[in-house]
């Protein structure tokens, strides 16, 4: 897949012809399906809405099929995870890791925080949600109140209203989705406090985010680079390596020249010494 950013880059390429040469190799940069970034022209990514509020009147179905509004669920700090439940890799990885972190998190579930996993696949139904809920609650090895982790499904309009509010942009590709991977921390009043990128949240970061959420303080986004689930192809970057090789060789050549100069030139005779002798 040709990297779309190149289209934007071409303008500058025109100005700097020599850089064009370098640019050629980047046409072949391989990309993983789960690459996320905020300015991907295809629209996948996260466009942070820190400090804004999620619409609390949105209604979803809970695992039992009962309709609930976000208002009813959000009254503690919230860990919101937009996923799709039959996701074959990163979503389940995220939820597994989250279950593991919750196991170790020094905070009381249902009182100090709650987890809400919202499926952004409108075709998924509460029975699948219930099945997933059982699976993940089982992974938490300590007693965990059922209400502290909710799995919601809903219709397309509501899903999009929520994902737009949190700036979470995804795209359907057949059965599956291309989408970013992140936890979003909300304050008890629905304010967006922090984005935690990647499928591997750290208990410490999560704890700090929840403390901030309980106080309604907005936290800066950290560890943004984690969201790049990128794979790197050294062959595609041959030119960069060649550049390094050339500069390295030139440096070493001059260093060698310098050593030769020092060895062959020897000690300098002082004019005075020469006179004395």
């Amino acid at each position: 897949m040709p990297w779309p950013l190149l289209i934007g880059m071409r303008k500058q390429f025109a100005i700097k012809v020599w850089i064009l040469l370098m640019g050629v190799i980047f046409f072949h940069s391989p990309l993983n399906a789960h690459v996320e970034q905020s300015k991907d022209p295809s629209g996948i990514g996260i466009d942070e809405k820190l400090g804004q509020f999620v619409p609390l009147d949105l209604a979803f179905n809970d695992e039992t099929g009962k309709q609930v509004t976000l208002q009813q669920l959000i009254n503690t700090p919230i860990i919101l995870t937009p996923v799709y439940l039959h996701c074959p890799n990163v979503c389940s990885l995220l939820l597994q890791n989250l279950a593991d972190v919750l196991n170790r998190l020094p905070a009381e579930p249902d009182k100090e925080y709650r987890v809400i996993s919202v499926s952004f696949d409108e075709t998924e139904k509460p029975d699948l949600a219930l099945e997933k809920k059982k699976t993940y609650l089982k992974m938490i090895q300590k007693p965990f109140p059922e209400d502290a982790w909710r799995f919601l499904t809903g219709d397309k309009a509501n899903i999009h209203e929520l994902t737009d509010a949190i700036g979470f942009h995804f795209k359907r590709v057949g059965e599956d989705f291309e989408h970013p991977v992140a936890l979003i921390i909300l304050a008890p009043d629905g304010k967006i406090i922090r984005y935690m990128y990647g499928a591997d949240p750290l208990p410490f970061d999560l704890k700090v985010a929840l403390v901030e959420a309980s106080q309604g303080r907005i936290g800066p986004t950290i560890a943004k680079v984690v969201r790049f689930c990128f794979s790197y192809d050294p062959k595609a970057n041959k030119l960069v390596f060649n550049m390094l090789r050339v500069t390295g060789t030139v440096t070493l050549f001059f260093a060698l020249l310098f050593i030769v100069f020092l060895l062959f030139k020897g000690k300098k005779q002082h004019p005075q010494e020469v006179k004395q002798e």
Partner: protein
């Protein structure tokens, strides 16, 4: 003629302060080709930058006195630790000893009248000032000071809207200055040694500067190239480090550390040289294991250039690379330990005189040992997973850089002060300042070690309530440390103007700089001395004789 006889044969002559050369006033300094004047120029600016770094550090610690925002916004905190790092690393600890004391004393210690390339020496200083000015400009212009941390890690440094390009250009120019100083001092050591000054008779300070200079010459170009690539990527969108453009952020980390790890040896090796020179003088004993110390310095320079990957154990580099870098890290501890054992062996059964320079050197040995041993802990793969990016890491390198290099630098201040300025500071006050700093330092940084061990992440603006007691202790320690610094510099400053006149050789040292007047004349030596004994041969300098 012997080097010892030189002192008697030198008639009183005007010092380099009175001989202002072709220019008058300030021009006689900033256009001077005299290595001593250039050394003092660096001296003034390095101390100035040191204090701005200290002030930044002071405010960082003050912010961390309590959880949550205390006196500043998170972004300000990010800028503070970045600027503290850039200023302290690139403007203070890397250049300090080679440019101040290397410039001033290396030529004298080998019996030369100046460095090999006096004009390039002046150019180095101008490049240093230009680079420093550009770094300073980055603070006040654009969308704010850099907030990347001193490491400028990509891809964040490629995207942040603040003034990274200017800071990066400053670092590039400082690198050129560093390379030129290295070339100058290596050439001086090779070509300008006095007759009889064989490699085995070089003072160990010269050996240390020599090893350091090679690292400066060979490693600094890498950071230069890295900074150019960051620059290209920011302005022209070339994808070298940014994964969204097909670049590799790990490549950035490799290139950055290929320079910056050896750079820590650029910082510490010269300080080791100072300790090796000072310890025998105040133990009144020949140094134990001269060649071992000299060659271990070269070994540190060589092996230390191959350990950069230990900064990257959690970056995703291969397991094989991790193992190899961990092994090399353990190996580089060996020559460091050789030095420590040799210094201690030199003190053993010596006639120890506890003057201020020796006190600073003793604390160097103690603090450097803590720094070195904590380095081994984090150099092992398993503990590194736990300690990575916690307070442990900054605590460790402050033990090395401040406890080691800093205290070494202060030892040099107190050791060479009478030679450089012809006056003596109050020795009692110097000892008081030393004990205050030593106590404050340990309260400060040992608390940070403990914080790191308990999991406090570095560079965080906020922390959990459980860390509060140790943060409070660390901040308290920083105040003691700063109080000690103020006493020390006030004492030196007072000595500069009101101190009693210093003798030519107040410490009864045997190296060449003590055989000429204090302060030295412009040409250093009336006649180039012929060297007939080693640098630590104190027989002719006994207290009674």
């Amino acid at each position: 003629m012997t080097s010892t006889g030189a002192a008697e044969s030198i008639r009183p002559r005007i010092s380099f302060y009175e001989d202002h050369g072709r220019y008058r006033g300030i021009l006689s300094w900033i256009l001077s080709l005299d290595h001593k004047r250039i050394g003092l120029l660096y001296f003034i600016f390095v101390i100035g930058f040191f204090f701005s770094g200290v002030v930044l550090g002071f405010f960082m610690r003050l912010e961390m006195i309590a959880p949550g925002g205390t006196i500043m916004k998170p972004r300000t905190y990010n800028s503070l630790f970045t600027l503290h790092g850039i200023i302290m690393i690139f403007l203070v600890v890397i250049p300090a000893i080679p440019t101040i004391f290397g410039n001033f004393f290396l030529p004298i210690q080998i019996g030369a009248r100046d460095v090999a390339f006096p004009r390039i020496n002046l150019l180095s200083w101008w490049l240093y000032i230009s680079g420093a000015t550009i770094v300073a400009l980055s603070v006040f212009t654009g969308e704010g000071p850099p907030d990347t941390g001193w490491t400028f890690y990509a891809p964040y440094s490629l995207r942040t809207t603040v003034n990274v390009p200017l800071a990066v250009s400053g670092v590039f120019i400082l690198g050129m200055s560093s390379i030129l100083t290295g070339i100058n001092l290596v050439t001086t050591t090779h070509r300008l040694r006095a007759p009889g000054m064989t490699w085995k008779r070089l003072p160990l300070f010269v050996w240390a500067i020599y090893a350091t200079s090679w690292v400066q010459i060979l490693a600094t170009p890498v950071i230069g190239i890295t900074m150019v690539l960051v620059f290209l990527e920011r302005f022209f969108g070339v994808g070298v480090f940014d994964p969204t453009k097909g670049g590799d952020p790990i490549l950035y980390q490799h290139m950055f550390w290929i320079y910056s790890h050896p750079a820590t040896y650029i910082m510490i090796l010269p300080a080791m040289g100072i300790v090796s020179d000072v310890v025998p003088v105040f133990a009144r004993k020949k140094i134990f294991g001269y060649m071992a110390i000299a060659l271990s310095g070269m070994a540190i320079a060589a092996v230390g250039s191959l350990v950069w990957g230990h900064h990257m154990f959690v970056s995703g580099q291969s397991d094989f690379a991790n193992l190899l870098f961990s092994l090399l890290t353990f190996l580089v501890a060996v020559p460091s330990a050789i030095k420590v054992f040799n210094w201690v062996a030199t003190l053993h059964k010596g006639s120890i005189v506890l003057e201020p320079p020796l006190l600073f050197c003793l604390s160097f040995i103690f603090l450097f040992s803590i720094g070195g041993l904590t380095g081994l802990i984090q150099g092992a793969l398993a503990p590194n997973m736990h300690l990575h990016d916690t307070y442990w890491i900054p605590a460790h390198f402050h033990y090395i850089i401040f406890g080691g290099m800093g205290f070494g630098l202060f030892a040099a201040f107190h050791y060479w002060f009478p030679k450089m300025f012809g006056r003596m500071y109050n020795r009692k006050t110097a000892k008081i300042a030393w004990i205050i700093m030593f106590v404050g330092f340990n309260i400060f940084y040992f608390s940070m070690l403990l914080l790191g061990w308990e999991g406090m992440p570095r560079r965080y603006y906020d922390y959990l309530p459980q860390f509060r007691p140790l943060h409070l202790t660390a901040t308290f320690g920083s105040w003691i440390l700063i109080a000690g610094l103020i006493v020390m510099f006030a004492n030196l400053f007072r000595g500069l103007f009101k101190g009693e006149k210093a003798e030519d050789n107040p410490w009864d040292a045997a190296t060449l700089e003590w055989q000429i007047p204090s302060p030295p004349p412009t040409e250093n030596f009336e006649k180039i001395p012929v060297i007939q004994h080693g640098p630590y041969d104190f027989k002719e300098f006994s207290r009674n004789g």
